[in-house]
């Protein structure tokens, strides 16, 4: 079992940045009537989301969040010994965007930097990696960046995906302190379902070609090209309502923590229908489960940290036990229980 436990490592601070441009799902998607859009919005709960312009990449959102975090927290950049950039919308196929960010952020050359290609589970998996790097005496601080411009991935003409995704970036500073106590992670992969959420072309298995850019009408009137994201919504739903409750129960058991001892449950913001189903199934109290998807949509791996910044900034004073869970593309699933002790949380910046 990929389960991990750590002592005295934790989240010192968290900042988020989003594009200025707001996209309103009810009125801005001209490919659908307002009635159709209304039925989808009612189910997904996503009223609006942020859309990056052509010139803005996920790395730019993470850059803005990182600058805010390090400047306002007064962090000595020489102490950042590793930078992890989690994204499936990087600047280039090579080199790794994390290495470009090491330079842009003025981090020392002695800093390890690399990318992780994961989506919705990416904050939990990235955080686990940051915690594990900090087991070394010589590693002092790790910067975990999660950035996505998912609106550039999916077709706005596809009713299953055209209303869900938003763009955002976060920066999370992880360091060592006895105040953090113990934390626990349980991580799973299910490659048998790798085609549930995917972009077919543009890699080396199926390189881009003139045909792959052509939008086609598919089953149920969905319109997208092979260069755009495909999602089997029903398959993902089945996976999530079966596996996520199991993962949460296993993590609680592994940690020896009772559900009632958890102050907040921060889930990947998939859509309201699925997330509310999870809440009912797990019998969670509504005020312990923050939602940010009505404002920012599904931002993939950014959704857990942006929900913390957006919804818990006034609630996370003092010491809190927080359970986080991310699930999706891969398929990949990760749950963690953390002690969060008076973190620095920035005000969300717009660029």
């Amino acid at each position: 079992m990929a389960s991990f436990t750590y002592t005295n490592v934790g989240i010192a601070g968290l900042a988020a940045a989003v594009p200025k441009q707001i996209y309103r799902n009810l009125t801005d998607n001209k490919n659908f009537t307002i009635e159709d859009a209304g039925a989808i919005v009612e189910k997904t709960g996503i009223l609006e989301r942020r859309v990056a312009d052509d010139a803005t990449c996920a790395s730019d959102l993470c850059f803005a969040a990182s600058e805010q975090l390090m400047n306002e927290m007064g962090i000595d950049r020489a102490e950042i010994d590793a930078l992890i950039f989690v994204s499936q919308t990087p600047d280039f196929r090579m080199p790794a965007t994390g290495i470009i960010l090491q330079h842009r952020l003025n981090l020392p050359k002695s800093c390890l930097a690399f990318d992780i290609n994961l989506g919705c589970s990416g904050f939990v998996v990235g955080l686990n990696l940051a915690y594990s790097l900090l087991q070394q005496d010589s590693v002092r601080k790790v910067l975990l960046l999660n950035g996505e411009t998912r609106t550039k991935v999916y077709s706005f003409k596809d009713r299953q995906t055209g209303f869900l995704f938003g763009d955002a970036g976060t920066a999370c500073l992880v360091d060592k302190n006895v105040k953090y106590g113990q934390s626990w992670f349980v991580l799973d992969s299910d490659g048998a379902k790798s085609d549930y959420i995917s972009i077919k072309t543009g890699g080396y298995r199926y390189p881009s070609n003139p045909d792959s850019f052509i939008e086609r009408e598919r089953e149920n009137g969905r319109i997208y090209s092979d260069e755009q994201g495909y999602m089997d919504g029903a398959g993902v739903f089945e996976f999530v309502i079966t596996e996520v409750p199991r993962s949460i129960k296993r993590t609680l058991q592994f940690a020896g923590v009772e559900k009632e001892q958890v102050d907040y449950f921060v889930f990947h913001q998939a859509n309201k229908f699925m997330n509310e189903h999870l809440n009912r199934k797990l019998k969670l109290e509504a005020d312990k489960v923050p939602f940010s998807l009505q404002k920012f949509g599904n931002t993939s791996s950014v959704s857990v940290p942006i929900t913390i910044v957006s919804e818990l900034s006034e609630k996370l004073s003092g010491v809190n036990k927080v359970l986080i869970s991310g699930f999706g593309v891969g398929l990949s699933l990760g749950t963690a229980i953390l002690t969060i002790d008076n973190p620095w949380l920035g005000k969300i910046s717009e660029i």
Partner: protein, 68 residues
Amino acid sequence: MEQFTELLEMEQPVKLNDIFREYENWDSLAYLSVISFVDEEYGIVIPREEFGKMKTVKDIIDYIAANS
């Protein structure tokens, strides 16, 4: 049956031998509603391959009976 009628927002009551895929408002969202309802009420997640074989409302009810 009444619950299915409400769930699918049907104007006429749902009947046992109705082919549910022929309902005018049957779509992917209705599918999610049914899967979610059965999971919450009976603790059963109907696998997609199984659901694909079902034709009538009775098929769904029989599956729940056989698996609960």
